[in-house]
């Protein structure tokens, strides 16, 4: 019987140059429910689809505030995500303590990437089974980063990870120009619509299964330089979801009209 001899630990290469344990960890990310992130010139938005293990259970947490200028969305092992987010929280708190400044987003992302990489090179360790989207603002403006268990990081304009995330990515690719020039509220709507694309036929976005996190530069006349990370959950989502609803129904009508024309 076939047996893979190269996946017993996370430090051994296969002859094809692969590290199976890391790839398996990436599978864990693919099985997590989908999260979407996107940026425009002023804001960075995270949107997540929450799953409940069973009808009677609560919904899992998908978006976590790390600091007032930064939040993460998770796909994969939630318990691993907690370890990573605790570390990020510590680091950002310590930056505030020692320098009196919010930690730059690329700095903290590099730090978690370095930790994740260590897990793939030291014997007896296991990679994190979680992928992250990190949204934040710093001196250089809003940012979105993708993080994978391999220790890979990328700064993104828009991104989706988790189950059926390809649908969301397709949406984001198609609307990239609109997203770049969108307003804060339009950005959220784009996020939600991308998320909606990933749903199977019988599912829809509700106030229970959706999470939205927004962070950005403060508008004119606002207190402080940034709009602090805000998590929208439950009833707060109602107006956001309604906007998506209205837009979609409007578009289908248009679409129908065009079909009639042709």
């Amino acid at each position: 019987m076939f047996r893979n001899n190269y996946d017993n630990d996370a430090v051994t290469f296969s002859p094809q140059g692969r590290i199976f344990q890391v790839e398996y960890a990436q599978e864990a990310v693919k099985q997590g429910s989908v999260v979407v992130g996107l940026v425009n010139k002023t804001h960075s938005v995270l949107v997540g689809l929450k799953r409940n293990a069973e009808e009677l259970s609560s919904y899992q947490k998908k978006i976590i505030e790390v600091d007032s200028h930064m939040g993460i969305a998770i796909a994969g092992l939630a318990s691993d995500a907690r370890v990573v987010s605790n570390f990020m929280k510590q680091q950002s708190l310590s930056s505030r303590m020692t320098y009196g400044r919010p930690i730059p987003v690329d700095r903290i992302v590099t730090q978690i990437a370095d930790r994740a990489q260590t897990n793939t090179q030291q014997y007896g360790k296991r990679p994190y089974g979680v992928g992250l989207l990190v949204a934040g603002v710093d001196e250089a403006g809003p940012h979105l980063f993708e993080f994978q268990p391999s220790g890979m990081i990328h700064e993104m304009l828009a991104c989706a990870i988790g189950a059926r995330s390809q649908m969301a990515r397709t949406y984001l690719e198609r609307h990239l120009d609109e997203i770049e020039s969108s307003s804060r509220d339009e950005l959220i709507t784009h996020g939600l619509r991308a998320l909606k694309e990933t749903l199977s036929q019988d599912k829809e976005l509700t106030v229970d299964n959706t999470s939205v996190g927004v962070v950005g530069l403060a508008g004119e006349g606002a207190k402080g330089k940034i709009e602090s990370f805000k998590l929208y959950e439950g009833q707060q989502l109602l107006p956001l979801l309604e906007t998506v609803e209205q837009q979609d129904s409007g578009e289908t009508k248009e679409g129908e009209g065009m079909e009639v024309d042709s």
Binding site: M97, T98, Y99, G100, R101, P104, D106, R107, A140
Partner: protein
Amino acid sequence: MNHFPELWGRPRDDVYGPYNSSYLKSTGPKTHTQSPAVTGTSVVAVKFNGGVAIAADNLASYGSLSRFTDVKRLRVFGESAVVGFSGDVSDMQYIDRLLESIDIRENYSTHGNLLNAKNLHTYLSKVFYKRRSDFNPLWNHILVAGFDGDKKPFLSSADLLGTTYSGPHLATGFGAHLAVPILRRLFPEEKPIEEITKEDAVSALRECLKVLWYRDARSLDKYSIAIITEDGVELNEDQKLEEQSWAFAESIKGYGAQVV
């Protein structure tokens, strides 16, 4: 010479006094408390409209000895921050190395060194506080000049105990006694810093350094001055005090009360 070879070559008690062996003690609590050796005197700084000016003389004293007369006590950090050091010179050089390594580390990030003077001051005050809490102080009193996160002129002080404070004009050491009253008279608190020009600020600093040169025995007439504006740091390290007038000295007799 005597019958105890183990004593040969050692300083004789009758000549040098008993040897204080407590300096060799390797047990007991750590006593690495120091005191300053080679020191720099006052640093003076003023905020003005659109920036900060900071100055210090180029002297490093060894007690009352004028030991090094070409020591630069202003240190530029990043694009627009300057640290002025008074106190122990070796500790200054240690902090200088710290700042160097931070600058290098910061420059690795995508957007360069984003630490402003305010961040730098927070950091340095933590370093001072940590070291004083370890009973191993860095024997300095510093002024940090530059801009804060809102691009407003920033001036703040930190000392060997970790004490911090800020103000429109500050001075360390002897300057706290001699320069601050001059600056308070020139730039009263009611006068907002927006009404102080760069030229006003610089000439005030030169005036302060002159008074310090007249009255502070550990000062020098060669000095450095840094002017920090939005455009960056303008640092002049080999300035000479001009237009000195020692005429007043002739009228001083004794400690001041003496008239004949």
